[in-house]
Protein backbone atom coordinates (compact mmCIF):
# COMPACT_ATOMS: atom_id res chain seq x y z
CA UNK A 1 0.00 0.00 0.00
CA UNK A 2 1.08 3.56 -0.70
CA UNK A 3 -0.03 6.59 1.29
CA UNK A 4 -1.05 9.34 -1.13
CA UNK A 5 -2.18 12.68 0.34
CA UNK A 6 -2.95 10.90 3.60
CA UNK A 7 -4.97 8.08 2.04
CA UNK A 8 -3.80 4.42 1.91
CA UNK A 9 -4.12 3.24 -1.69
CA UNK A 10 -3.22 0.12 -3.61
CA UNK A 11 -0.73 1.77 -5.98
CA UNK A 12 2.40 -0.35 -5.43
CA UNK A 13 4.33 -0.82 -8.66
CA UNK A 14 2.79 2.18 -10.38
CA UNK A 15 4.85 5.08 -11.72
CA UNK A 16 4.28 8.65 -10.58
CA UNK A 17 2.99 9.42 -14.09
CA UNK A 18 0.38 6.65 -13.81
CA UNK A 19 -0.72 7.81 -10.35
CA UNK A 20 -1.19 11.37 -11.61
CA UNK A 21 -3.23 10.07 -14.54
CA UNK A 22 -5.41 8.09 -12.11
CA UNK A 23 -5.97 11.26 -10.09
CA UNK A 24 -7.08 12.99 -13.27
CA UNK A 25 -4.29 15.52 -13.17
CA UNK A 26 -1.48 16.15 -15.62
CA UNK A 27 2.15 16.51 -14.73
CA UNK A 28 2.22 20.22 -15.49
CA UNK A 29 0.55 21.83 -12.47
CA UNK A 30 1.78 19.64 -9.65
CA UNK A 31 4.64 19.11 -7.26
CA UNK A 32 5.20 15.53 -6.07
CA UNK A 33 7.02 14.62 -2.89
CA UNK A 34 8.04 11.03 -2.23
CA UNK A 35 9.11 10.22 1.35
CA UNK A 36 9.86 13.93 2.00
CA UNK A 37 11.90 14.40 -1.18
CA UNK A 38 10.85 16.19 -4.35
CA UNK A 39 10.43 13.95 -7.40
CA UNK A 40 11.99 15.82 -10.35
CA UNK A 41 9.55 16.14 -13.27
CA UNK A 42 12.03 14.27 -15.46
CA UNK A 43 11.76 11.27 -13.13
CA UNK A 44 7.94 10.91 -13.07
CA UNK A 45 8.03 8.14 -15.71
CA UNK A 46 10.84 6.21 -14.08
CA UNK A 47 9.85 6.53 -10.41
CA UNK A 48 7.99 3.38 -9.33
CA UNK A 49 6.12 3.42 -6.02
CA UNK A 50 6.67 0.65 -3.54
CA UNK A 51 4.92 -0.62 -0.43
CA UNK A 52 5.15 1.85 2.45
CA UNK A 53 5.93 4.90 0.33
CA UNK A 54 4.43 8.21 1.42
CA UNK A 55 3.48 10.51 -1.44
CA UNK A 56 2.21 14.08 -1.38
CA UNK A 57 0.78 15.45 -4.61
CA UNK A 58 0.29 19.23 -4.47
CA UNK A 59 -2.02 20.50 -7.22
CA UNK A 60 -1.79 24.15 -8.15
CA UNK A 61 -4.82 26.15 -9.23
CA UNK A 62 -4.71 29.66 -10.64
CA UNK A 63 -5.13 32.87 -8.69
CA UNK A 64 -2.94 35.17 -6.68
Amino acid sequence: MVKINGEMLDKDGMTVTAVLADMGTGAQRVAVELNENIVPKAAYDSTVLKDGDVVEVVRFVGGG
Binding site: Q28, R29, V30, A31, E33, E36, N37, I38, P40, K41, E56, V58, R59, F60, V61, G62, G63, G64
Partner: protein, 212 residues
Amino acid sequence: MSIPTREEMYRALEERHGSELQKKFASASVAVCGLGGLGSNIAIALARAGVGSLHIIDFDCVDISNLNRQQYFPEQLGQPKSQALYDTLSRIAPYCNITADCVKLNEDNIPELLRNENFICEAFDNADQKAMLVNCVLENMPEKYLVSGSGMAGLSTANTIVTKKITKRFYVCGDGVSDVSDGLGLVSSRVLVCAAHEANAVLRIIAGETEA
Protein backbone atom coordinates in the same frame (compact mmCIF):
# COMPACT_ATOMS: atom_id res chain seq x y z
CA MET B 1 6.67 65.87 10.28
CA SER B 2 9.94 63.98 10.10
CA ILE B 3 9.85 60.22 10.38
CA PRO B 4 11.14 58.31 13.41
CA THR B 5 14.77 57.22 13.47
CA ARG B 6 15.82 53.64 12.74
CA GLU B 7 16.32 53.10 16.48
CA GLU B 8 12.87 54.48 17.36
CA MET B 9 11.17 52.25 14.78
CA TYR B 10 13.10 49.20 16.00
CA ARG B 11 12.29 49.91 19.65
CA ALA B 12 8.58 50.17 18.86
CA LEU B 13 8.69 46.76 17.18
CA GLU B 14 10.66 45.31 20.08
CA GLU B 15 7.99 46.52 22.47
CA ARG B 16 5.34 44.73 20.40
CA HIS B 17 7.12 41.48 19.64
CA GLY B 18 9.77 41.19 22.34
CA SER B 19 13.47 41.69 21.71
CA GLU B 20 14.32 38.06 21.00
CA LEU B 21 11.64 37.64 18.33
CA GLN B 22 12.36 41.04 16.81
CA LYS B 23 16.01 40.12 16.45
CA LYS B 24 14.98 37.05 14.45
CA PHE B 25 12.63 39.06 12.21
CA ALA B 26 15.26 41.75 11.66
CA SER B 27 17.92 39.28 10.60
CA ALA B 28 15.65 37.41 8.17
CA SER B 29 15.70 37.75 4.37
CA VAL B 30 12.55 36.85 2.44
CA ALA B 31 11.96 36.74 -1.32
CA VAL B 32 8.43 37.43 -2.55
CA CYS B 33 7.94 36.06 -6.07
CA GLY B 34 5.01 37.72 -7.82
CA LEU B 35 3.60 41.02 -6.55
CA GLY B 36 -0.10 40.66 -7.25
CA GLY B 37 -2.89 40.07 -4.73
CA LEU B 38 -0.81 37.59 -2.77
CA GLY B 39 2.66 39.08 -3.09
CA SER B 40 1.86 42.75 -2.48
CA ASN B 41 -0.06 41.87 0.69
CA ILE B 42 2.55 39.36 1.89
CA ALA B 43 5.34 41.91 1.46
CA ILE B 44 3.45 44.58 3.39
CA ALA B 45 2.73 42.19 6.28
CA LEU B 46 6.40 41.17 6.45
CA ALA B 47 7.64 44.77 6.24
CA ARG B 48 5.29 45.84 9.03
CA ALA B 49 6.52 42.98 11.22
CA GLY B 50 10.07 44.27 10.82
CA VAL B 51 11.59 41.64 8.54
CA GLY B 52 15.07 42.97 7.82
CA SER B 53 15.46 42.24 4.11
CA LEU B 54 12.84 41.81 1.42
CA HIS B 55 13.45 40.87 -2.21
CA ILE B 56 10.37 41.71 -4.28
CA ILE B 57 10.14 40.36 -7.83
CA ASP B 58 7.60 40.83 -10.64
CA PHE B 59 7.87 41.52 -14.39
CA ASP B 60 4.45 43.17 -14.73
CA CYS B 61 3.10 46.72 -14.50
CA VAL B 62 0.19 47.99 -12.40
CA ASP B 63 -3.11 47.68 -14.29
CA ILE B 64 -6.53 49.07 -13.40
CA SER B 65 -7.83 45.49 -13.06
CA ASN B 66 -5.37 44.93 -10.18
CA LEU B 67 -6.84 47.59 -7.90
CA ASN B 68 -9.62 45.34 -6.55
CA ARG B 69 -7.13 43.39 -4.45
CA GLN B 70 -3.52 44.45 -4.94
CA GLN B 71 -1.76 47.07 -2.83
CA TYR B 72 -1.33 49.75 -5.50
CA PHE B 73 -2.78 53.20 -6.02
CA PRO B 74 -4.56 54.60 -9.09
CA GLU B 75 -1.72 57.06 -9.65
CA GLN B 76 0.67 54.10 -9.97
CA LEU B 77 -1.05 52.64 -13.04
CA GLY B 78 1.53 51.71 -15.67
CA GLN B 79 4.46 51.59 -13.26
CA PRO B 80 6.38 48.35 -12.77
CA LYS B 81 4.85 46.62 -9.76
CA SER B 82 8.32 46.07 -8.29
CA GLN B 83 8.96 49.84 -8.27
CA ALA B 84 5.44 50.79 -7.14
CA LEU B 85 5.56 48.34 -4.22
CA TYR B 86 9.12 49.40 -3.39
CA ASP B 87 7.83 52.96 -2.97
CA THR B 88 4.96 51.86 -0.72
CA LEU B 89 7.13 49.54 1.39
CA SER B 90 9.69 52.31 1.80
CA ARG B 91 7.00 54.48 3.34
CA ILE B 92 5.77 51.71 5.64
CA ALA B 93 9.19 50.46 6.72
CA PRO B 94 11.79 53.05 5.71
CA TYR B 95 14.71 51.11 7.20
CA CYS B 96 13.86 47.75 5.63
CA ASN B 97 16.53 46.60 3.17
CA ILE B 98 14.45 46.16 0.00
CA THR B 99 15.68 44.83 -3.34
CA ALA B 100 13.19 45.24 -6.19
CA ASP B 101 13.61 43.34 -9.46
CA CYS B 102 11.44 43.83 -12.54
CA VAL B 103 12.10 40.45 -14.13
CA LYS B 104 10.22 37.31 -15.11
CA LEU B 105 11.42 34.35 -13.05
CA ASN B 106 12.20 31.15 -14.94
CA GLU B 107 14.08 27.91 -14.36
CA ASP B 108 17.31 29.47 -15.60
CA ASN B 109 17.38 32.60 -13.43
CA ILE B 110 15.70 31.36 -10.21
CA PRO B 111 18.79 29.77 -8.60
CA GLU B 112 20.80 32.95 -9.15
CA LEU B 113 18.08 35.50 -8.29
CA LEU B 114 16.92 33.73 -5.12
CA ARG B 115 20.34 32.69 -3.82
CA ASN B 116 20.48 35.22 -0.97
CA GLU B 117 17.14 34.63 0.73
CA ASN B 118 16.48 31.77 3.13
CA PHE B 119 12.72 32.12 2.81
CA ILE B 120 10.82 32.15 -0.47
CA CYS B 121 7.15 33.03 -0.96
CA GLU B 122 5.53 31.81 -4.16
CA ALA B 123 2.87 34.39 -5.00
CA PHE B 124 2.21 33.98 -8.72
CA ASP B 125 -1.28 33.86 -10.17
CA ASN B 126 -0.71 31.37 -12.99
CA ALA B 127 -0.89 27.69 -11.96
CA ASP B 128 1.82 26.57 -14.41
CA GLN B 129 4.16 29.25 -13.09
CA LYS B 130 3.42 28.29 -9.47
CA ALA B 131 4.35 24.68 -10.23
CA MET B 132 7.46 25.80 -12.14
CA LEU B 133 8.77 27.91 -9.25
CA VAL B 134 7.98 25.32 -6.59
CA ASN B 135 9.60 22.45 -8.50
CA CYS B 136 12.62 24.55 -9.41
CA VAL B 137 13.23 25.65 -5.80
CA LEU B 138 12.65 22.20 -4.32
CA GLU B 139 14.89 20.51 -6.90
CA ASN B 140 17.73 23.04 -6.88
CA MET B 141 17.64 24.74 -3.49
CA PRO B 142 16.51 22.17 -0.90
CA GLU B 143 17.98 24.26 1.94
CA LYS B 144 15.40 27.06 1.44
CA TYR B 145 12.08 27.35 3.21
CA LEU B 146 9.33 27.63 0.60
CA VAL B 147 5.75 28.84 1.18
CA SER B 148 3.30 28.66 -1.71
CA GLY B 149 -0.34 29.65 -2.30
CA SER B 150 -2.96 27.63 -4.15
CA GLY B 151 -6.74 28.12 -4.09
CA MET B 152 -8.16 31.46 -2.94
CA ALA B 153 -10.53 32.59 -5.70
CA GLY B 154 -14.20 33.42 -5.26
CA LEU B 155 -16.24 34.46 -2.25
CA SER B 156 -16.97 31.17 -0.51
CA THR B 157 -16.12 30.85 3.17
CA ALA B 158 -12.63 31.93 4.19
CA ASN B 159 -12.57 29.11 6.73
CA THR B 160 -11.38 26.58 4.14
CA ILE B 161 -8.13 28.46 3.58
CA VAL B 162 -5.44 26.75 5.62
CA THR B 163 -1.67 26.38 5.88
CA LYS B 164 -0.49 22.84 5.21
CA LYS B 165 3.02 21.60 5.88
CA ILE B 166 3.91 19.29 3.00
CA THR B 167 7.51 18.42 3.89
CA LYS B 168 10.11 19.76 6.31
CA ARG B 169 10.68 23.02 4.41
CA PHE B 170 7.67 23.29 2.09
CA TYR B 171 4.27 24.74 3.04
CA VAL B 172 1.16 25.41 0.94
CA CYS B 173 -1.56 27.90 1.88
CA GLY B 174 -5.05 28.09 0.37
CA ASP B 175 -8.08 25.87 -0.07
CA GLY B 176 -6.34 23.87 -2.81
CA VAL B 177 -9.29 23.94 -5.20
CA SER B 178 -10.78 27.41 -5.88
CA ASP B 179 -9.43 28.24 -9.34
CA VAL B 180 -9.48 31.75 -10.72
CA SER B 181 -11.09 30.45 -13.90
CA ASP B 182 -14.16 29.10 -12.03
CA GLY B 183 -16.81 31.76 -11.68
CA LEU B 184 -16.23 34.91 -9.72
CA GLY B 185 -12.48 35.38 -9.95
CA LEU B 186 -10.41 36.96 -7.22
CA VAL B 187 -11.92 39.00 -4.38
CA SER B 188 -9.78 41.16 -2.11
CA SER B 189 -10.80 39.65 1.21
CA ARG B 190 -10.23 36.00 0.36
CA VAL B 191 -6.93 36.70 -1.43
CA LEU B 192 -5.88 38.67 1.65
CA VAL B 193 -6.67 35.70 3.89
CA CYS B 194 -4.39 33.50 1.80
CA ALA B 195 -1.68 36.18 1.69
CA ALA B 196 -1.92 36.47 5.48
CA HIS B 197 -1.51 32.70 5.78
CA GLU B 198 1.66 32.85 3.67
CA ALA B 199 3.11 35.79 5.61
CA ASN B 200 2.15 34.16 8.91
CA ALA B 201 3.78 30.87 7.90
CA VAL B 202 7.02 32.72 7.09
CA LEU B 203 7.02 34.66 10.36
CA ARG B 204 6.30 31.50 12.34
CA ILE B 205 9.17 29.64 10.68
CA ILE B 206 11.51 32.59 11.34
CA ALA B 207 10.38 32.47 14.96
CA GLY B 208 11.30 28.78 15.09
CA GLU B 209 7.72 27.50 15.05
CA THR B 210 7.92 25.09 12.15
CA GLU B 211 4.55 23.37 12.53
CA ALA B 212 1.80 24.63 10.24
